[in-house]
Symmetry: C3
Subunit: 344 residues, 3 copies
Amino acid sequence: MRLDELARRLDATLVGDPEAVVDGVRSLSDAGPTHLSFLHNPKYVEQARTSRAAAILVRDAEALPERNLLVCDEPYLALARALELIHPAEDVVRGVHPSAIVDDGARLGEDVAVGPCAVIGRGSRVGDGSIIGAGAVIGRDVEIGAKCHLHPRVVIEDRCRVGDRCILHAGAVVGSDGFGFASVGGVHHKVPQVGIVDIEDDVEIGANVCIDRAALGVTRVGRGTKVDNLVQIAHNVEIGEGCLLVAQVGISGSTTIGSHAVFAGQSGCSGHLTIGDRVVLGAKSALYRDMPDGAVWTGIPARPHREWLKSTVNLQRLDSLRESVKDLEGRVAELTEAVEGHDT
Amino acid sequence: MRLDELARRLDATLVGDPEAVVDGVRSLSDAGPTHLSFLHNPKYVEQARTSRAAAILVRDAEALPERNLLVCDEPYLALARALELIHPAEDVVRGVHPSAIVDDGARLGEDVAVGPCAVIGRGSRVGDGSIIGAGAVIGRDVEIGAKCHLHPRVVIEDRCRVGDRCILHAGAVVGSDGFGFASVGGVHHKVPQVGIVDIEDDVEIGANVCIDRAALGVTRVGRGTKVDNLVQIAHNVEIGEGCLLVAQVGISGSTTIGSHAVFAGQSGCSGHLTIGDRVVLGAKSALYRDMPDGAVWTGIPARPHREWLKSTVNLQRLDSLRESVKDLEGRVAELTEAVEGHDT
Amino acid sequence: MRLDELARRLDATLVGDPEAVVDGVRSLSDAGPTHLSFLHNPKYVEQARTSRAAAILVRDAEALPERNLLVCDEPYLALARALELIHPAEDVVRGVHPSAIVDDGARLGEDVAVGPCAVIGRGSRVGDGSIIGAGAVIGRDVEIGAKCHLHPRVVIEDRCRVGDRCILHAGAVVGSDGFGFASVGGVHHKVPQVGIVDIEDDVEIGANVCIDRAALGVTRVGRGTKVDNLVQIAHNVEIGEGCLLVAQVGISGSTTIGSHAVFAGQSGCSGHLTIGDRVVLGAKSALYRDMPDGAVWTGIPARPHREWLKSTVNLQRLDSLRESVKDLEGRVAELTEAVEGHDT
């Protein structure tokens, strides 16, 4: 594709040769003379200068003089669109593979693809254009919307719901029982988990993620929220819209999270919390109390990020503080002696 | 079901209208006028007062005047029983699905259900009434007891054992190789892992949990222990009876845990430790040494919970401590000058 | 097998009765009079002295007088070889199980085993002698080398590569999409992940591990690296040769790790870092910056291990430091009074 054509399609401003041609997208270091690349993280500006790429998506043209550039406000978003144009997803064969087991009481929409050895139970519905990967298991009375992509070996247990345009990666489990026991005299009696999971539209769920069904009611993942691999979402959690949960995060039972929250990798929170909108919880943090709208917290226990930074620095200076105190003790002893010497 | 009948079945004391009828169980906020609800966590007492529920399971009648109540010592246990009465589990079709692959040398008990595309290997046995979910894979010479429920896509590798009445959630892996290598000159030579996993009766294992087989001997999960999602149990670990391992916990190799221990979410411990009975390890903690019976420890490294709390508070007060020291330094300097002034 | 024969095969020096016979390998505590055992961790020397084992693999003969010993420099490596001799792996039936779905356009080498309900897509190749476990799903255009063992339910997504002699445990996912979104105005637009995963020769991948495909280019796991269960490896990560990643580790996107690095359990690092050769990152640590060759770091944030130890001790002594400061304040007040008393 010629750069002028690409610029037009990406709503970008072309700087440089309109007739240059790109036939692929590569990283700055891998790109060759027919590749488009991109500069998103300023850490890589030097790499951009020396890249062999034919053209570079960039926000600020002045950073890269004498290069073919596609200048736009959101180069990363433009990259996403360029990838769709230049590396379109492979076609998936539509229809039900002969080895799949689709219950007679299940209803499939139009242009659905059901892969080999996939299983769809009684009363379940799959919307138009959705893809059910090989070996996926859909229980009974499950509802899956349109244009979803369930990768191989996803499990959706009975009665759970998945909205439109959701992507679930391999091995994700939706609707496992919540961890609920009535413990009496050292014996843990199972509390039946009779609720469901409701995954709203445009959600992406990572590989081997676990989302437990509610004890009663609903465990909810809000519209447009993206969940990375190996995340745990416990029973009765409610997550708002447009949140990002990075890999290996754990959300304990009955906690409510607002919209546009970010939980960085390996962070976690205890149960029954109320967490506001637009919060950021730092990587590896452990949150034990409610978090107000817009808070940026870090640490174990999590507290405002600036306080955590200060504590971290203070902790590393404790040696010098101990020395100061020791020093003071010596000087005070000398002074005491001197003053008492005067008195006697 | 009428409240008087329900009270009788749950061994609860009825306060209020015996003829009131409930046809479902809901949370306090979701309940309508034909629903039973429950008050377990005192945090929700206000919600209980305004709930529309027909009746509430509660320990202390005085907390909720003028309501229909089922009063009992263990309202959460009563909830478990009420759910079994009012929301009984759906029937599972018994027999072997035609798409399942059961080796001729495998033996299935009575009333066993084997789901679509499940695989059971040579020499394996499944006890009466057990359910093997769709796509589950049981290796060779595995023993599974009676009345177990293996959810879809569980894997039990060769020679491992599962007791009676165990529940294994989707994606759990039992009997993967332990992480054992003899590292010589930078090359990690695999040590064959020839032991097994033994899961005793009444154990519940969460979704996508991993339990490694022993290098030699047995990795054991004791009777009545409950393991939440995404937990890692390494080779030769021995876990006692009635323990609770919350989500994303990691237990390193050859560690022994007593009975009725609680490991909170995302905590972990190093290998070759001896951990006593009735211990509690706090969320996100990292345990590096043996833990005596009944200890309640938290932190990285884990130490008695009170010490950790004090450290946490002290850490947050370090700024003021630094200021006190600076202040002292000023005053001591002044004093020194004053005293030396006297001397000269 | 007689001890003299075993000593010869293991290149060990026999101390004791050459005619003693062993027919199995057991741990020190489980071994009976016909078993070989081993002493690797000095913690267990007392157990070795009282073990009933017929013979013990050991480095230092003097630690265990009056026993049959096989003395060698690397007893743990010798154990690995002894296990291969005495407990050889069970034979796997070669050929394609009739229930497996192998695309006509896939190519299988000689002596390949494809288990029940396994799926191999168009254009994929499996090398000689490899084992594809029951329910494993291999996408399109995947390349798997020779003598690999994919356990049940492994997923390898389209176009990814696995070298020779690799072992992938149950539930591992290779080639799920990286977590990449262009977030504009609160909406997270998916950036298509068009790269691949390349797993080099002699790699072992634990159960339920997730390795994301690169956004562009390659996510790489270097030759001889061993990855434990439930580890997360994000898109565009590059891991060198001979590394060890212990259970539940998380490596964020675009981070590069050198060779022979060790990441202990539940540790993690942020993205876009450059981590040197032969580093050790302690359990539960969180790494936020580049790590030079040979560094041994611990903590949150990770810093040199000795500093972390000192901080940990200092933190636990903060109470006594606070008391010292309080004490000093009292003495300085007294001194001030005394000095001022003089002055007036």
